[in-house]
Symmetry: C2
Subunit: 404 residues, 2 copies
């Protein structure tokens, strides 16, 4: 955990992926993130994958380094404690509905500088999830094997993760304005806007309107340049991309295909130098050359030639292989062994995704036990007396453990 955000406190009431990652990113940078949970855990508390004891390995990684206050949010009095806490802290991250008891307008009535960051489905409040937003915006139609016309979902919850990171950014941006002017506000993050807006930022709306049609499907190929997967003689499927002239020239050298390319250029009356568009337009012939060059050599040999010539490449790994990869995990300072996880299972966990060069990265903190910080937060942040807290625990509005 780095300390860039020390001094910042945030209340998080959230579930699943997008909204919890906002709090996660803040906490990993040193903010105090007070997660308020339903007693016994919210709707994502048992989200798969789970251990034999039904501990969610997703939940316990998405909620690292946070504090947990457990309230009975089904009762009016429990919700009132949450509202008090939000108004006291002044920053809320949530994916609860804009019109519900955590409406910004209601909360801000007694807390004019409040900043609310709200993850939503559609902008009008209707529900959407990563998978349905993705189907709507059109990426699955372009994804998947060439010979298959069916849409392919990406397995990575990309829109959730992007919404989380953009949400953390937007929260700090709103905070910067509040620091300067005192003005708070509600920052809304509809998944469908994040998805369609990102497509627009990548030029996809302009492209579709300009050409009047969608792109052709490219399988594992990269649009507009030379990049695709190929299989080596010893069967290692490998992704290569040449995104600039230097990388292209390195690829030509590493694969020793200068003569083959020259003969395509002569046949077709084109010139590949300095123009990845021309190369892409002639990819049928270029890819056939590269396929042959791959099929003639083993992966170790090719990888060494790629490294020596500045070619961007990677073999495809399973996640089992990735987790054992020294560069990715086992010798990567991003990761440290995480013990004290709610599941009781110990494994390497990530700290903040960015590296502060020359500064010490602390070990990743575990997720809290549900309710572990109820007493401390109600006492220290809200100023409740010990007897008041004891009364709330006795009446079942507050829990200090996850035991029933």
């Amino acid at each position: 955990m780095y300390d860039l955000l020390s001094g910042l406190t945030v209340v998080e009431v959230s579930s699943f992926v997008a909204s919890p990652t906002i709090g996660l990113y803040l906490a990993q940078m040193g903010a105090e993130v007070i997660k308020v949970d339903q007693i016994g855990g919210g709707q994502d508390f048992r989200r798969w994958p789970v251990t034999e004891d039904n501990h969610s390995l997703a939940w316990e990684n998405l909620n690292r380094a946070k504090k947990s206050v457990a309230l009975d949010l089904s009762s009016k009095a429990g919700r009132a404690v949450l509202v008090d806490l939000i108004r006291k802290v002044g920053v809320l991250v949530t994916n609860l509905p804009a019109g519900g008891f955590l409406s910004h307008e209601t909360l801000a009535a007694d807390c004019p500088g409040l900043i609310t960051v709200r993850v939503m489905g559609w902008p009008d409040g209707s529900i959407a999830l990563d998978y349905t937003a993705n189907a709507a915006v059109g990426y699955p139609s372009l994804t998947g094997p060439l010979e298959d016309e069916r849409p392919v979902n990406h397995v990575l919850p990309a829109w959730d993760l992007l919404t989380g990171a953009y949400g953390a950014f937007a929260l700090l941006a709103a905070l910067r304005r509040r620091d300067a002017t005192g003005q708070g506000g509600e920052v809304r993050l509809p998944l469908t806007d994040i998805a369609m807006g990102s497509a627009a930022n990548l030029g996809r709306i302009a492209e579709v309107l300009h050409t009047g049609q969608d792109r052709v499907r490219l399988g594992n190929g990269v649009f507009g340049t030379i990049g695709r997967d190929f299989v080596t003689r010893d069967g290692q499927r490998t992704m290569i991309v040449a995104i600039n002239e230097r990388q292209w020239q390195g690829l030509v050298r590493a694969l020793d295909i200068t003569e083959g390319l020259a003969s395509i250029e002569r046949e077709r009356g084109v010139s590949f130098a300095g123009d990845d568009g021309v190369r892409f337009s002639n990819r049928d012939a270029i890819y056939a050359l590269i396929e042959a060059a791959f099929a003639a050599r083993d992966h170790a040999d090719l990888a060494a030639a790629f490294d020596a010539n500045g070619v961007v490449h990677s073999g495809y790994q399973t996640m089992v292989e990735a987790v054992a990869d020294p560069r990715l995990v086992t010798e990567n300072p991003l990761f440290a062994m995480s013990t004290d996880n709610p599941s009781g299972f110990a494994y390497p966990a990530a700290g903040a995704l960015a590296t502060l060069a020359g500064e010490a990265r602390l070990a990743p903190a575990p997720a809290p036990q549900i309710g572990a910080d109820s007493e401390a937060v109600l006492g220290e942040v809200l100023g409740y007396s010990a007897s008041e807290i004891a009364r709330l625990v006795d009446t079942g509005l507050v829990a200090t453990t996850n035991e029933a």
Copy 2:
């Protein structure tokens, strides 16, 4: 453009997707982003898709609302102007190498509070791109049709976009510390760390180490809950997901499959209520029921039933359909017509991806012409005299247009 970040100035020296989106997100929230370009445009200036006139529709959307200063970065004197500008402004976003002329150490020698945000490939400085990082961490192995074992790349540059959003967040976090303490620093964002760290945050490392193996491939299915694509009687492929109990019950009602489910429960001796793990484990039978229910009804009928019952669903659209969709684009206030684009083509473009409830969203600003702001920035930010700027233009170190 919202004004959350007004008063913040950033120098950006970057190309392709991840690094430019950092500047884009900042600019859309009101920061002044001074993009320094090689005279004539950098290596991504002609990145496909391009118009007939070779204007990149990707570049002009990834660089909206920024200023452009054009320098001859191949000359020492041109690079010296850039270094002066960075030291004066105090915040740099780049994807140039950590060890090159934009090394943080070198720059910070005369600018101790400098914040550098650097997009990288691997943490050790070796090159990687979205596509190769993705192959390395294992997502493609899980992506794609069930009956196919080949890895499938996602078409969305998800790691680039995530790195951009996380980079914008990390930049503001670093700025917050500098505001408090005066301390700057270098924030490094290796794509491979963003990718592997995100897998860890989603519980994937814990899962793989706990089970000792990778997940089975699920095609378009969602892990751990009921969610997949199905085809309606009239042929509309539709994604549905039930991520909580309310959504599951809505799905059961909308599809009228209560009896079918009860008979599976009796046969198998299981209970589906309250446990999406049990439902997922019996997905073979549940999906067969849902397939039959979809095949019996048309999309309009099903969609209405889904909406009435709170089911999360979306038909798959092509991007051509998405761009014409009123909810996504044509009637969505996230978008406004963008004219004055470098390409000369006018089309709807996105503003900031977040919505500030109740505040006016300004129309998206176009990307600059290369060099359009050279004179103003060198004069106003660096205090160069008009005659000094004229001399730099005459000697070819500075350009004020993209004309040769």
